[in-house]
Amino acid sequence: MMSVSATPVLALRKVSKRFGAVQALTDVTLEIHPGEVVALVGDNGAGKSTLVKTISGVHPVDDGTIEWEGAPVRIAKPHDAQELGVATVYQDLALCDNLDVVANLYLGNELRGAGVLDEIAMEKRAKELLDTLSIRIPSVRIPVAALSGGQRQVVAIARALIGEPKVVILDEPTAALGVEQTAQVLDLVERLRERNLGTILISHNMADVQAVADRVAVLRLGRNNGVFDVADTSHEEIIAAITGASDNAVTRRRARTEQVRKEEAR
């Protein structure tokens, strides 16, 4: 694990969410520290997306508390999450193909001078941001439609950073990307860590997870199924936790002691 401050920037404590008869999340606990990449993994239907949506305000939690920098907060709508400093990059990108890179980066947050779009300031800052993230795109003034899949993904992530968030949620950022493009996105995730942001990375790809994540939180059937340090956990152990093959007394005990250790550290 990287250097981790005592207080997590974002913490979910025993969070539950129910949709009608379906208990989507049960007593899920998750902590994100600044400068830490937490991978959120789990089988389809394990509750990853629901968990992310509770954080980003799409689905408010039914039970449990969300703490922001140590203080309990209520996230009832997407705007609340944005106010706090949670930025979510969705799987299907949500870029406007017909707009250029600058316009997409500042969409909904346009810089204005005297009521008029300040294109020059936006272009300048967009370039600076892309440079600090070492993002290479041909020009910031070409329509997003002209970019490759990987370039579009990094633009989408860069856009999340415009609002100076403290936590960034990446939903399957490397799905549907080629090898080289995946590397580009993973490089960018490392740079988010260098900027001391807390990052939640949802992924199905264990190679990606092991490449960039500090910790892996496994969800299974809407419950926590262990939090692992990537450095000293094997691929197989994580897979076992995802599929439930490790669902036995030993692993449950380990998860419990880990939890206790955390609480003491706090």
């Binding site: 997407p78 705007h79 944005q82 969705y90 990108l93 949500a94 870029l95 406007c96 193909d97 017909n98 707009l99 250029d100 316009a103 969409l107 909904g108 947050n109 346009e110 204005r112 009521g115 008029v116 779009l117 020059i120 300031a121 272009e123 300048k124 370039k127 290479r136 795109i137 041909p138 020009s139 910031v140 003034r141 070409i142 329509p143 997003v144 439609a145 002209a146 490759s148 990987g150 370039q151 080629g178 080289e180 493009q181 590397a183 580009q184």
Partner: protein, 430 residues
């Protein structure tokens, strides 16, 4: 925004260890540094990529002018051109509203009826009930805006397709129009009224047309120079002086040619007020669309409504207001039509008004598929349509031929739009 004229180039640094996904040097980037030759190359490359921009319509206008001039030498006479200018204004203002709606990727089929209602509201208030003329004009335009808002509400909040809402509006509002006009069915514009002056007033002083041309050229050059200076100050690539000079030159030639034709030849009446108002609407709308957050948001919603929503844009607000703008400009345009035809009637705005307005926006190069287009396409497209009508009138062609030719031109414009969209898809550009 894929603004063809504003694509900036970056000084590309050669990339060594980067992925092949990012070409080391993009041909787009070198244009600025190579002056005029670079521009020609860039232009050719855009054409191959399907980015036709205003080219088809400019070529079309030239062809139309040449063909009709050869057939009838009075086509390019002052009278004929001034006619085109005046007739372009009313429908052109309505077409500006349609451009807004098309940028959203929607359609407004009600503009003809709304124009009729606008004219009827003005006529009934001002002539029948003796309301102050200016107030009546204001209320007519406000009625158009209210109607548009209603369309927008049904479309955005209730989720009825815009096509159906405005089709219902097309029928319903023309019913209202007939009801408002009452038994006589027509109300003549009183002489000296505001509405009569909309298309009847000419600035006879030659200084007006030349002065306006001069102001336009200076404002254009000034804005280009100012922008270039600010971009240089911010260390961003800017237009070279040669390009600014070329653009200013083209605008100056056009502006002064128009002013000359309006002022000098025998029978010239000076600068028509209608043209001034149309240009004012164009400049204002272009400013809103390209320079304000609101305009940016229209493009975003037209390009990808879901992305716009997630970016925190109030998509419904944009949709409702865009339909309100369309209704407002339709009613305003209706007053011009009333002015030209001497009064409000039961069937003002009926017939091919709607088709001409939509055709103008599309012929001018605004995409039917949303997110792409320019306000100025309303002017270019309407010039094409009015030139064809004026030319065919001069040749004494019957209206059935006019309909067929206008229909063919519209189809050609949509074909060009669809083909260029497909080429752009394969060339990876939107």
């Amino acid at each position: 925004m894929s603004d063809l004229t504003k694509k900036t180039a970056e000084t590309a640094e050669p990339e060594t260890a980067e992925a092949p996904a990012v070409p080391a040097v993009d041909p787009r980037l070198l244009v600025r540094e190579r002056g005029f030759a670079g521009y020609l190359e860039e232009f050719a490359r855009r054409l191959r990529g399907g980015e036709l921009g205003s080219l088809p319509v400019v070529v079309g206008l030239i062809v139309i002018a040449v063909v009709f001039q050869l057939k009838n030498s009075s086509f390019l006479s002052a009278d004929s051109l001034a006619n085109i200018g005046v007739y372009t204004s009313g429908l052109g203002i309505m077409a500006v509203g349609i451009v807004f709606v098309l940028l959203l990727g929607e359609i407004d089929l009600s503009v003809g009826s709304v124009a009729g209602v606008g004219a009827a509201v003005w006529a009934v208030l001002s002539v029948t009930h003796g309301v102050n003329d200016w107030l009546a004009v204001l209320l007519a335009v406000a009625a158009g805006a209210a109607i548009g808002t209603l369309h927008g509400f049904f479309f955005a909040k209730i989720g009825v397709p815009a096509f159906v809402v405005t089709l219902a509006g097309f029928l319903g509002w023309s019913g209202l129009q007939i009801w408002l006009m009452g038994k006589e069915g027509s109300i003549n514009t009183p002489s000296g009224s505001v509405v009569e002056n909309l298309t009847g007033y000419y600035f006879e002083d030659k200084a007006a047309a030349y002065g306006l041309a001069l102001v336009a050229v200076l404002a254009y050059a000034g804005s280009l120079l100012w922008e270039a200076r600010r971009r240089r100050a911010a260390a961003l690539p800017s237009r070279p002086a040669s390009e600014i000079a070329l653009r200013t030159g083209v605008v100056a030639v056009l502006a002064f040619a128009v002013a000359y034709v309006l002022n000098e030849p025998d029978g010239a009446r000076g600068l028509p007020l209608a043209l001034v108002l149309f240009l004012a609407v164009l400049v204002l709308a272009d400013f809103v669309v390209r320079r304000t957050s609101y305009g940016r948001q229209i493009f975003a919603v037209g390009g990808n409504a879901e992305a716009a929503r997630r970016a925190g844009i109030n998509v419904n607000r944009i949709r409702v207001t865009v339909f309100a703008v369309s209704g407002m400009l339709a009613a305003f345009g209706g007053l011009f039509i009333a002015s030209l035809s001497g009064g409000a009637t039961k069937n003002l705005g009926a017939g091919n008004t709607l088709m001409n307005v939509i055709a103008a926006a599309v012929i001018g190069g605004t995409s039917l598929f949303g997110g792409r287009g320019k306000i100025w396409s309303a002017l270019l497209g309407m010039l094409v349509i009015q030139s064809i009508q004026q030319g065919l009138n001069l040749l004494g062609m019957a209206s059935e031929i006019q309909y067929m030719i206008t229909g063919a031109v519209l189809l050609a414009a949509v074909v060009i739009d669809s083909l260029s969209r497909r080429t752009q898809k394969t060339a990876g550009r939107t």
